[in-house]
């Protein structure tokens, strides 16, 4: 602790500013919810909820969105612990709050028999992102379950199949044993140059995608005419402790019978000749 009064004042002011700037709402209240301290973001988030224009009591301020909070805090028998953790408070979107938060996250901590601490955060954007992600997942699952002529697979950085889904089974007949195998298992044995797999991946890296058409083979040895699209995925650096994570997506289309001569492009000829 610095004993120089000027330095101590500067330290105190820096601490005050730290709390002013903290990007989450912090509130300390007594066990009945009477507010003892709060930082500005807490006031920013709570003032639009206040029905009496004040913020003297946390439970009163939150009554409209979390009426059960006071009882939950009273029920919490232990002297220390979380009364609620990341509780989502859905705000009334009406009124003038068209650009304000819609959903707050509230964590209420009992510090001891007489004190509570609350952490408030605006999680509107985060929840919207999570919802979009779940919707995209549902779309993808519907596609994987529903498409009949396409197999969709994730490939790792070496072009090995990362995971199995129904579309791979339907189009190629391969089961989960395909995981870990290179995507060239869908090509007739001996038809490819050694570098083919790496060439497709490098081309996808360089131009955003790599497409070729040619003879493909099913697990039972039956052949079909297909097109193979390989495209790189974003964010493909593996996280610490992770290996074999998706680096490319592969779309294999079953085109049925081999088309007449002259239909195929130069890439297909290259694939055939290789």
């Amino acid at each position: 602790m610095n004993r120089d009064p000027a330095a101590a004042n500067a330290e105190h002011e820096a601490l005050i500013q730290f709390l002013y700037l903290a990007p989450v709402g912090l509130v300390q209240a007594d066990i009945d919810g009477e507010v003892v301290m709060m930082n500005p973001v807490a006031a920013q988030l709570l003032m639009p909820l206040s029905r009496n224009g004040g913020l003297d009591n946390l439970f009163v301020a939150l009554e409209g969105v979390a009426p059960e909070l006071r009882a939950a805090a009273a029920r919490h028998a232990e002297s220390y612990g979380k009364v609620c953790d990341g509780l989502h408070l859905h705000l009334d979107a009406g009124g003038g709050a068209r650009r304000g938060p819609q959903i707050l996250s509230l964590t209420l901590l009992k510090l001891d028999a007489g004190r509570l601490m609350a952490v408030l955060d605006d999680v509107t954007e985060q929840l919207l992102r999570e919802r979009r992600l779940r919707q995209n997942d549902a779309w993808l699952n519907a596609i994987l379950a529903g498409v009949t002529d396409y197999a969709l697979a994730n490939l790792d950085l070496q072009g090995r199949i990362c995971d199995w889904n129904q579309s791979i089974g339907r189009v190629t007949g391969f089961g989960p044993e395909a995981v870990g195998q290179p995507f060239t298992i869908f090509y007739p044995p001996g038809a490819l140059a050694l570098e083919y797999r790496q060439d497709r991946l490098r081309e996808a890296d360089a131009s955003g995608w790599s497409l070729d058409e040619g003879q493909r083979v099913r697990a039972d040895g039956g052949e079909f005419w297909g097109s193979t699209l390989v495209a790189p995925l974003p964010d493909r650096e593996p996280l610490p402790g992770e290996s074999g994570s998706p680096a490319y997506c592969l779309i294999l289309r079953d085109m049925g019978e081999r088309p007449g001569q002259g239909m195929a492009d130069s890439r297909q000829e290259h694939a055939d000749a290789a």
Binding site: H12, E13, I16, Q17, L19, Y20, L21, P23, V35, M37, M38, N39, P40, V41, A42, A43, Q44, L45, M47, P48, S50, G53, G54, L55, D56, G95, G96, A97, R98, R99, G100
Partner: protein, 130 residues
């Protein structure tokens, strides 16, 4: 400038504050925060500095609604200034609010002032008796 100090509820206050010297602003018995169109603080008088516990050098030049008074960054305060700017209209409204001066919730009256023709907008802060 008259000898009588300006009152919190005086009419045409924005225009009269524009004419005040820093010394005159510091003599007022309510808080004065002046800021520009970019929301960066340009005026921070002694009353407000003392109440908030922040010296002017920590505040001047900082964006008001994110770095100085985040508690006002909602539709009740910040958005009123944005709306007045978009509509090119005069803003002069007084609201009851709670500020967290030195982390204590304090009931205040805020007067929000903005004139389309003026470069400086004002948030005035007057403490209310509890």
């Amino acid at each position: 400038m008259t000898a009588t100090p300006l009152a919190f509820d005086a009419p045409d206050l924005a225009v009269r504050l524009d004419e005040c010297t820093p010394g005159q602003l510091d003599a007022l018995s309510f808080g004065v925060i002046g800021f520009g169109a970019d929301t960066n603080v340009t005026l921070y008088n002694a009353f407000e500095s003392q109440a908030a516990g922040l010296s002017p050098q920590r505040v001047l030049g900082q964006p008001l609604f994110t770095n100085v008074a985040p508690c006002m960054n909602n539709f009740m305060v910040a958005q009123r200034f944005e709306d007045a700017h978009e509509e090119n209209s005069v803003l002069d409204v007084t609201i009851d609010y709670v500020l967290t001066l030195r982390m204590r919730p304090v009931k205040v009256a805020l007067r929000l002032l903005s004139n389309p023709g003026s470069g400086t907008r004002y948030v005035l802060v007057q403490r209310q008796p509890r």
